[in-house]
Every structure is written in structure tokens, then in C-alpha cells.
């Protein structure tokens, strides 16, 4: 039987080098010294004003972005999209067609930017890598028993290594929400550290699945936990749970990365995913970044939009701006 927390339980699994757990950056180096200390630290984070967060995002959502600013926002949003397919029915053919769309989202217009990454399951990362060879587009793979995360740590680490070996540039891991909600924060932390180590050169995005964490306070704690453990990005959701990415959650996460950089000097990216379907949603997120963390995050290196149907809506709006008349779903690819 594999013990749920033993990373070496699978036969032949290489033991991670280094200590049992990484050390958080200064000035937080000692907060993970014990379970109790870590819990005290996370619960000591300032509480989130949930009503205030909703009101703030509602106000920012009414900003009117038009003409040249809108054109810029649409192109920026396209370049931030992680074009995603995470279905049981995914085939190599579907991944290849998605990769083609990622390279040239609008075949009629060469000026249309490419997306940031293609996000697939780990076993198809190789197909995506091959299809995207020679472009700057990254291959992101979900791992660690996505989407539930309910597997022993050894299986999760094997999943990560497999995806990296298949050529994934970025790993989207899910945290153990069960452990988080039970208050075993240090377990969650150690798991992220172990996954980060298994990633090697690949970037690590940590999915908090805020829909299951329920409160904004939990979203703030999980964000800090993931950043302390070394995540390169924090991501709202798997897209399999509703509610997924909401603006208040995104605001809380943006504040977390801002405060974290101010304290440690390390910048962490943010990726809302799931439920962002329209250009208007995407533009609201861009406004939120600009007003919360500033221009430093307004780049695909630090902000991504996990989406599948969003890209088509962005393209329709882009065509509207280019041609002067409304476009229709017959003028973008079906995927």
C-alpha cells in the first residue's frame, strides 16, 4: 500500500534531492517551522473585506474601454490566453488543431497575436510540444491527479515527472483541498515544494480551486501558502468546478502577489481560469490588474487567462473593430 504522503512509495520513483521541505524566502523563512506556526501565520493574515472586494470589482467592471484602448486590450488579452482543452475525449488530432489555432488565432489577419500557451493533459503534452515547435508558445500540462488531486503524493509526483518528460514547459498542479480545509497547511505546503522540485526547469502554476475553498479569506491564505512554497503562478480554478474565476477572488489573489513582492522581492504570476467567456470579462480582468498591481503584471509572463471559448469571442470583437461591422460564429473556428 502506498502511504499517502510518502513521495518515494512508488517503486523506482527517484527521491527528490534536498531536505524534506524547501524554505520560504525571507522574511518568512521561519513560518513553516511547525504546523502550528504555519497555521498561526496564515490565520494571522489580514481578513478580507468580502463586501468591499465585491464592490471594488463591480465599480472597476463599469469602466468603459473603447476604440484604440479596446483594440489594445483585445490584443493583449489574446496574447495572455492559455488555450485549454481538458476533456476525456481529447485526441492528438484535437490537440494539433488547437495548436494550429494557437499559432494563428485569426488566419485572415496575420497581425493577430499568438496566444501564450496551450494547456492540455500531461499525456498529450508531447503532441502539443511537437505541434508548437519553433514558436514561442508554451506547452502547459495539468498534473497531480487533476482536477480532484485525490491521489497519493507518489502518484502525483510521477504524474508531474511524466508531463515534464513529455515536454511540458509549465505544470498546472492542483493543491490538496481536503488537507487545506482540514487545516493541515504544512502538508499542502510540502506537497507544493515536492512538486516544484519534480518540475525541474518547468514553471509551476498552483491551482487553488477557490470554488471549493469557499471564502475569500481561504483564497488569501491559499495564495500565500502557494507563493511561500515556490509557485511561479497562482491559478484560481480547474474550470471543472463552479464558481470558477470570479473578479473578487482575482482581486484577492492580485493583492496577495502584490504584497508578496513587496515583502520578499519575488514576483508571482496570476492566472484566472474557468468562466471567463466574453471579451468584456477579459477586459474587466485587465482593468483589475492595472488598478491593483499595476503594469508590471500586464504581460503574458505574469498574467494568463485560462480559457477555451473566450478566444473566439475575442476574435469576433477584433474582427468587428477591423472590419467595422459585426462578425458571427461562422467566421471563427469551431473547437
Amino acid at each position: 500500500m502506498t502511504y499517502v504522503l510518502d513521495p518515494d512509495a512508488l517503486a523506482g520513483g527517484e527521491a527528490p534531492v534536498g531536505g524534506p521541505a524547501g524554505t520560504p524566502p525571507d522574511p518568512f523563512a521561519d513560518v513553516t517551522r511547525s504546523d502550528a506556526a504555519f497555521r498561526a501565520f496564515l490565520h494571522g493574515l489580514p481578513g478580507v473585506d468580502a463586501v468591499g472586494a465585491q464592490q471594488r470589482t463591480a465599480v472597476l467592471g463599469t469602466r468603459s474601454i473603447k476604440t484604440t484602448a479596446k483594440a489594445w486590450a483585445i490584443d493583449t488579452a489574446i496574447s495572455m490566453v492559455d488555450l485549454t482543452t481538458l476533456e476525456g475525449s481529447d485526441t492528438p488530432g484535437k490537440v494539433r488543431s488547437l495548436a494550429a489555432k494557437a499559432r494563428r488565432p485569426d488566419p485572415e489577419d496575420p497581425a493577430c497575436p499568438a496566444v501564450a500557451a496551450v494547456c492540455v493533459y500531461g499525456d498529450l503534452a508531447g503532441v502539443a510540444k511537437e505541434a508548437l515547435a519553433g514558436t514561442g508558445i508554451k506547452v502547459a500540462a495539468v498534473a497531480t491527479a487533476f482536477p480532484s488531486g485525490r491521489a497519493s503524493r507518489a502518484v502525483k509526483l510521477a504524474d508531474v515527472r511524466d508531463a515534464v518528460a513529455n515536454g511540458a514547459d509549465e505544470i498546472d498542479m492542483v493543491i490538496d483541498r481536503g488537507a487545506f480545509l482540514a487545516g493541515r497547511y504544512l502538508d499542502v505546503y510540502e506537497e507544493i515544494v515536492a512538486v516544484k522540485e519534480a518540475c525541474g526547469p518547468a514553471h509551476l502554476k498552483v491551482i487553488l480551486e477557490t470554488g471549493e475553498l469557499v471564502t475569500l479569506d481561504n483564497a488569501r491564505r491559499a495564495s500565500w501558502l502557494a507563493m511561500l512554497a515556490g509557485g511561479d503562478f497562482i491559478k484560481t480554478s480547474t474550470g471543472k468546478i463552479s464558481p470558477a474565476a470570479t473578479l473578487p477572488v482575482c482581486l484577492v489573489m492580485l493583492e496577495a502577489v502584490r504584497d508578496f513582492r513587496a515583502a520578499t522581492g519575488r514576483q508571482v504570476g496570476v492566472k484566472p481560469a474557468g468562466g471567463i467567456k466574453t471579451t468584456k470579462d477579459a477586459v474587466k480582468h485587465l482593468v483589475l490588474i492595472n488598478e491593483t498591481v499595476g503594469e508590471d503584471w500586464l504581460s503574458p509572463d505574469w498574467f494568463r487567462l485560462g480559457a477555451s471559448s473566450l478566444l473566439n469571442d475575442l476574435l469576433l470583437q477584433r474582427q468587428k473593430l477591423r472590419t467595422g461591422h459585426y462578425s458571427g460564429p461562422d467566421h471563427v473556428s469551431v473547437d
Binding site: 462578425s327 461562422d330 467566421h331
Partner: protein, 288 residues
């Protein structure tokens, strides 16, 4: 006698089965034939037209796939509900068009009869407009009519109910979904028709009624890449020419504007059904 306050009406649009205000927030005053205030109507903008097209496209799959029999039943039910509202329609037609109440009532009756007439056409179109074709080979060749898609209807400006029904019902009977821009000066019967449609069995989004100016919204609908056909019944002169030209950019079906608004009481025949139907031909091998 009564010291009751008047209930002043500010009507809304009918889009996707709901009654939203215009996105623009605009309204305009509707007056009767002698210039007296009747009600406020929503003044639709291009974005309302955009939303209406999205709704009509969304409703198209189900409405076009409904059996002809079912479509006929649903349209007949609309006539039933109209009959129940006949007095309200008559009042609005009388006020808007300046008719006597008996003439207005006759106009309403004609409109309801017209609707019933088109409801009866749904399951006869395939027989009348379809065919089995003689082919030189061991095949059957069939041709059958299919709906064109989303049709933008610029409704007649003068005949506010009979004219409206005469252009809308044939579009629906063929299985198309519609975005209608009502008469600008006489929109009340169209608004009431929206309330009739909402309380009958027509699925939301199949008919979307916008009140406003065809000259303002028409160009956006004519250029829209997701609109498959336009009916220019409510336009004339240079506007009609301009709309025809812009509809050509996306190769739409265009039912041209009449030289002047016709008398809608005549038998329409197939003249308004056929333009919004496409003919699909199928070859099928003959078995043993």
C-alpha cells in the same frame, strides 16, 4: 369621477424571451395620429440589435429543427393569444393609424387571419416548394426547402399590425428566426405582439422585437456577418439602396423594398415565404 392616477407606460424591447430596456437607456415618445402622447417606447441602439442577433442565432437550431407540424401548432397558438388581446390591438391600431374603431377591428381580424394562414403553411412548404427530380442515373434526386437562418426584418412603417404580421409570420413559418425593427412612429402593436409571443409557446429568441429607427439600426443589421437575410419592407429610397449595397458585402438574401408601401390586405401567395428558404438537393442511390 375617479381620482386614480394615470399609469404612464414606458415599454421595453423584446429580446431573447425577456423584456430588456435599450442598452442605450434611450426612449422616445409615441403619439397618436393627431399628435397626442400615447406612451414611451424604448429606442433601440446598434448594441440591442447585436444582442438580438445573438439571441436569434441561439434560438435557430431548435426552431429550425422543430417539425413542420409542431411549428404550425406553435404559430396557431400565437393567433389564439392574439385573438384574446384583439381589443387592445384594435385600440392601438385605431390610435396609431387614425382609423375608426370598426376599421381598426377589421384590420386586427385580418392580421389574426393572416397569422393563421401562415401557420397552416408550415407543413405544406415541402410539398409545394420541394420536388423529386428526374435524374439520368440509378438515383433518386430530391429537393427540399430549408430555412435561411437569422432574418432581419425592417417592418412596414404605416401598417403597424397587419403589415408587421404579414412580414414576420412568413419568416417564422419557414423555420427562420427573426430580428424585427418595428415601425418607428407606430410601434405599439409590435410591443403588444411581443407580449403575445412571450405568453405563447414560441421559444425565447425566435422573435426579437426592437422599437426604434430603421435608418439607425438597419445598416448594422444589413452589414452583420451573422444575419443571413434582410427584409427591407419598411424602408424606401436612398436608405433601401444603401442597405442593399451593404448587405452585398456578406452575400445576404435581400427582399427588396417595395416602391411604396403596399396594401397588405391582398393575398400574399408565396412571395414572402420563398425568399427566406434555401433549396437543398439530395442524391440517394436506388436500392434493389
Amino acid at each position: 369621477m375617479s381620482d386614480r392616477l394615470t399609469v404612464r407606460k414606458t415599454y421595453k424591447l423584446y429580446v431573447n424571451g425577456a423584456f430588456p430596456r435599450s442598452e442605450s437607456g434611450r426612449t422616445y415618445e409615441v403619439t397618436d395620429a393627431r399628435g397626442h402622447f400615447l406612451a414611451n417606447a424604448a429606442w433601440a441602439s446598434r448594441k440591442d440589435a447585436r444582442d438580438a442577433v445573438v439571441a436569434a442565432r441561439g434560438a435557430f437550431a431548435k426552431w429550425s429543427a422543430a417539425t413542420a407540424y409542431n411549428r404550425g401548432q406553435v404559430l396557431y397558438r400565437v393567433a389564439e393569444v392574439m385573438e384574446g388581446r384583439a381589443a387592445q390591438f384594435a385600440e392601438e391600431v385605431a390610435a396609431g393609424e387614425g382609423l375608426s374603431s370598426s376599421k381598426a377591428r377589421a384590420e386586427v381580424d385580418a392580421a389574426i387571419d393572416r397569422w393563421v394562414w401562415y401557420a397552416g403553411w408550415t407543413d405544406k412548404l415541402a410539398a409545394v416548394l420541394g420536388s423529386t427530380n428526374p435524374v439520368a442515373g440509378p438515383y433518386f434526386g430530391f429537393s427540399m426547402p430549408e430555412p435561411t437562418g437569422v432574418v432581419a426584418v425592417l417592418a412596414p412603417q404605416r401598417s403597424s399590425l397587419l403589415g408587421l404580421v404579414s412580414v414576420l409570420a412568413p419568416v417564422l413559418a419557414g423555420g427562420n428566426t427573426a430580428v424585427v425593427v418595428s415601425s418607428k412612429g407606430r410601434p405599439l402593436p409590435a410591443i403588444t405582439l411581443g407580449e403575445v409571443l412571450a405568453t405563447s409557446d414560441v421559444p425565447g429568441g425566435v422573435v426579437n422585437l426592437l422599437t426604434g429607427d430603421a435608418a439607425e439600426i438597419g445598416p448594422w443589421l444589413a452589414e452583420h456577418a451573422d444575419v443571413d437575410a434582410v427584409d427591407l419592407a419598411g424602408t424606401a429610397g436612398p436608405l433601401a439602396m444603401e442597405l442593399e449595397r451593404s448587405a452585398a458585402g456578406t452575400v445576404k438574401r435581400v427582399l427588396r423594398a417595395p416602391a411604396e408601401e403596399p396594401d397588405w390586405s391582398g393575398d400574399p401567395g408565396l412571395s414572402r415565404l420563398r425568399p427566406f428558404l434555401e433549396t437543398k438537393s439530395v442524391w440517394h442511390p436506388i436500392g434493389l
